[in-house]
């Protein structure tokens, strides 16, 4: 692997949009961006409140804090050492505007999911990124897990035979009771998320359903073609969706189920995937992220572990430590940033990016996620099958 420094003679300069205050994802982005030393965080707008934005930038030791995105983009464009790219981690309803501004300024973009709050705007963003010839990565961070990259590689290499079944679950408990009715429990983070105009029409699908959907399509290499869904709130009095049960038909005839919920009291972010073909199956769970179980009929299962030299190249490259030294969430997130760094550096150097960087989730994946959400909502409304629109 060629590092960014080797390729460009310097680190990439990243500008942050959002992620200040009590944001959970802000620190994650900053840690992940720095982890492999491909980026330096030099500028940022850490809050939508201009004053707070400046203060927070200072508290983080950012060289150049700005009061708003417009100002940052303009000022950085003037500098010889201006930012190369932006990372967007603001509430969902602002992704599109900020991303468009950055693309218009000629900057590569890495953005939180869901890409936007509706399919049309997602498609517009995909089109703009393509038209500009710029890199646009989406932080579907679970696809950064080495053993999910191994899973994808195993499916692609035909190890499972023709794919027949898939099950993806994402089970959380943070909304297991009516917290939104409790002024002390309802944080700012939660407030915008549960507000459909800001967080999107379906909280559970936007927040974690798109992750499960992307993981599933990433690993299987198959689109979801049709869904039979039941999306809604299981907690009385709740407006936002907290649970989605979805029966899936994938291209090529595979079937499956997805169960995503935030109302599973006591569950702690249990993300799991199983896939079965005619020759074998695989199972992965974030709780034991460093291993992938490969199953075959009437034979012992195989436990592939992160870092083994026998793994497929993309999963080998996604590991930084030998087997038995566990890696986890931050390292997976950092793998998305490493993909992004490779894509950006290669574009700037006029070279091909590292092969593994093709694994990076893109704006197009984001649009697929929105198409999936819209189909699930249509199915729920009609009580029958809905086709997932082609993006």
């Amino acid at each position: 692997m060629i590092s960014v420094i080797e390729l460009l003679g310097r680190r990439l300069r990243l500008g942050l949009i959002g992620g200040g205050g009590a944001s959970l994802i802000g620190p994650v982005h900053r840690i992940a961006a720095r982890l492999d030393d491909g980026f330096e965080l030099v500028a940022g707008v850490l809050s939508s409140h201009p004053e707070r934005a400046l203060k927070e930038a200072e508290a983080l030791g950012l060289s150049r804090g700005y009061s708003d995105v417009q100002t940052m983009l303009a000022a950085e464009a003037e500098r010889p050492d201006g930012i190369d790219a932006v990372a967007i981690m603001t509430p969902n309803d602002s992704h599109q505007a900020y991303a468009e501004m950055a693309l218009d300024a000629g900057l590569d973009v890495i953005c939180d999911k869901p890409l936007t709050n509706d399919l049309a705007s997602a498609c517009a963003l995909v089109a703009k990124a393509r038209a500009r010839g710029l890199v646009f990565c989406l932080t579907h961070n679970y696809s950064g897990y080495p053993m999910l990259r191994e899973a994808k590689s195993a499916v692609a290499a035909g190890e499972l035979g023709t794919l027949r079944l898939v099950q993806a679950n994402y089970v959380q408990g943070s909304l297991g009771s009516h917290v939104e009715g409790n002024p002390e429990a309802i944080t700012d983070r939660l407030r915008w998320r549960l507000d459909p105009t800001r967080g999107g029409l379906s909280h559970v699908l936007g927040d974690i359903g798109t992750h499960a959907h992307q993981m599933l399509t990433f690993v299987t290499g198959r689109r979801v073609e049709a869904v039979l869904a039941d999306v809604g709130a299981v907690i009385p009095g709740r407006v936002a969706h907290d649970t989605a049960s979805v029966i899936l038909r994938l291209e090529g005839g595979a079937r499956g189920v997805m169960f995503v919920t935030k109302a599973a009291t006591g569950a702690e972010n249990a993300l799991t995937l199983e896939a079965y073909g005619e020759e074998g199956g695989l199972a992965w769970a974030q709780a034991s992220a460093n291993e992938l179980r490969i199953m075959r009929n009437a034979r012992p299962a195989e436990l592939r572990t992160r870092g083994l030299p026998t793994l497929h190249p993309y999963s080998r490259q996604a590991a930084r430590l030998p087997p038995g030294h566990p890696e986890a969430f931050f390292e997976a997130f950092a793998n998305i940033y490493r993909d992004f760094a490779s894509l950006v550096a290669a574009r700037r150097a006029g070279r091909e990016p590292e092969d593994y960087a093709r694994m990076a989730p893109t704006a197009a994946d984001g649009a697929e996620g929105l198409a999936f959400i819209e189909a699930c909502l249509a199915s729920t409304a009609s009580g029958t099958w809905a086709t997932v629109p082609r993006v």
Copy 2:
């Protein structure tokens, strides 16, 4: 606990119907029936072929082998030491006839699931058992697992608060490829099972779906009211159903998902249950059958283990060994037989059965299972919600 011997001064005498030859379930019944010494196996019709029936009875050391059920029932009725009950473990399409014959002979019945192949005949059987005042147990053996009895008790005691979500999976791999097209792979056992006229309209639902359904309703104490289902075969060329994905609505407003399949190549009988209420959740898996995970929001999970003195009475009584000495499938199956023994012995002694025996699955549970199957098939056919008929 009062033993059968203490209550009646002798073991109950059991007559076997089926379970000879290469039957998998035959030895399970015999081991389970004997395990707690409540039964002696004295008579049997081990095959539908009269000669084989006699030979097999002899090979098993049964005192009284018979060539057919009619003959056994008549002969045993004449004896002072005739059988008290029959155990039916024949192909599904014969359950009704044999059960009716036994009930008509005044015998208590324990019968394999599914009870019958359609709801109407199931209801007829329920009605006849009730009319005769006889015991009728169904071998939904998973509900014999002590930690599922603990789960049921925990839900009933309100430990989870109001139930909101449930997920039940039963994932097998024995039909992961088109074995029925391979003369060497297709056994007698498999042939009748995959034949809809003998094994029932939906192989996967009858064979394992009814187990998942009974486990779910047993633990939650809630009926499934409506389903949105996709039932069929994922393997090309297959007639029998191998996979059912079902979205559930339970009485009282809980929602959930069930995924049952026999086409998950390499999966080994993975039966799991999760349930969540507003106060907490629980998770159980047959692969770690001796423990039950109890979850609560923002607090450590609790691992309840079989045999602990702090368990609810019904789960404590279902254990024979102290914690750390694992029990498994046979012991769970034997718990159904122990329930059955207690019910039969109590009826004969004119006493109340042991409290724990109320946990036994009955013919009515079997009818509920058939109602569930019919609703799933109706939903699949219409592509929309189907109501589960009340039994």
Copy 3:
């Protein structure tokens, strides 16, 4: 596999010695003996108190209860349908006398471990059993677990290469505090066990250390040649030993550690084994008894599961159910009884026993266990290495 009934035309008749009252192991023996239908339990002396012995036999529905062992052996010898064998499950200090009486009466014996309370008497018993040409099995029941039989077979087949390392742990918590000082906590079962004159010089080594030792030598096929040990009580005021830490040298140059304790508060009978050779390693734990992990350097581990058709013959034969349907403690114990039945039936039929029956632990294994205990105590006393006497 030929069944006992097929070989002899009847079940073997077993006489019980001990196991009544609050005995934990009594019900285990009875369940295990009946499980595969190789034995019928026809006679017994259930207690050392004559009256209680008769009452308990009746409560269990035994045809022929006796007041004492002498009487049972004499009476049964007169009957045409007298017992073929005895099962001894009395306190340790009585094993030798009962076993000798039974052998002198020409009966085959299955006996609880430890064989006796000292090496000399153990050797005497081994010699007598050999001289009489009778079968003598010892209930080192853990070696009945199919996946430990797989482990033994894997080592024997050279799958690990030359053995280099072994670790065996048996960690319990029942004596984690000074229960013997608490009149309410100290049961009859515990009282004789903790009394060195009845339970043996080292409670922890006799009760569970011999299990760990037998498991280790069973699987590796190697004798322990020398030990460096620290055996004693970690709970202040305790006389009986509750903990043994032992460094091992095995024949052929392998090294290892054994840690057995009953003072690990909260631990629930955690029995584990690991063994490593130059080509690979294996790991097994009773808590997941249905699987065996096979490891190799820089390659994925393999999970062998009970019942797979690819297993070695002895482990395949030790399973009654397909993979995914778990078996556990009783079934492993029953495998020892099945071995015993095969050995006894073959001896009586003048035939070779089933091959798998060679796996049965014998009186000689019991003597090896006593030799191990004596070496551990010698090492503890001297504070340096002790050689394990050859038996």
Copy 4:
């Protein structure tokens, strides 16, 4: 928590000593140091070969690469923005010299373990750091795992009652065969490690035994007072030690076992800890680093998970993500760097460090490790107990 930037208005400036080339630990240090943004890596001597040192510094994008440590310390001392601290990650035999040079230059030090190769030099280093009043942290990184900090806190809070038993294992397989005899397998990293004059008298004890020892004393708060050990090589032809079996006596009367080996073919860095007191026990394994099992007699075990609000403060502060989002090796290592940063920043600011920083392993812990090694070797040589020298 106050960040370094908030306290000092800038990040701490770190100089690297070692860690270039194929070093495994070099990237770990750099990632860990940067992770929480308390350090910027501004200078370094990446190799003991002057030319390579400069090239490697450039490749890493370090602002100021130097050819040797002397030069770096002199040059940095001249700069207004000179380094505040050094991180030493060179072969063991050079730790002392580099550390002394840095301390003499008034710099705080973070250093790889083992501290040195013998107890005398370790004590000298401890004395010098104390005399200088400088911070000296040792990268016993496992004590950075939040759930081991929870374990320590639980023991300290008396949750287990009086400690009675402990077991610590560190089982690896990288030296499972005679790799040193294979010119292709023997890397530079391995060559100096297996050379006693460079890697220390006992490879296995220095490399992983000191980790297990520090973890055990860190969690229990007890010194190891005496050992009965068997240290050596299990692979024929090997000079370096690959395996150590150690029986332990801890202060206060607790006993235990430690088993550390690098010859367990196929094992992948399996670090585990169990500790038991009269009231309860705990178990932790690196393979499931995000949870800690708390056990109590005859009651359900509790699964504490990283990030729960109910944890003890030191373990809560050591987590960056909510429960269910796993953290792993790098984050634990970064916790040691965060402790170090807090200690250094506080010293420079003339303030008390953050409370959690007291958890950091120090030079004194390193000396304790060397004392442990020397006692283990003495015990092995004499074949009897050895007292661990007081440091």
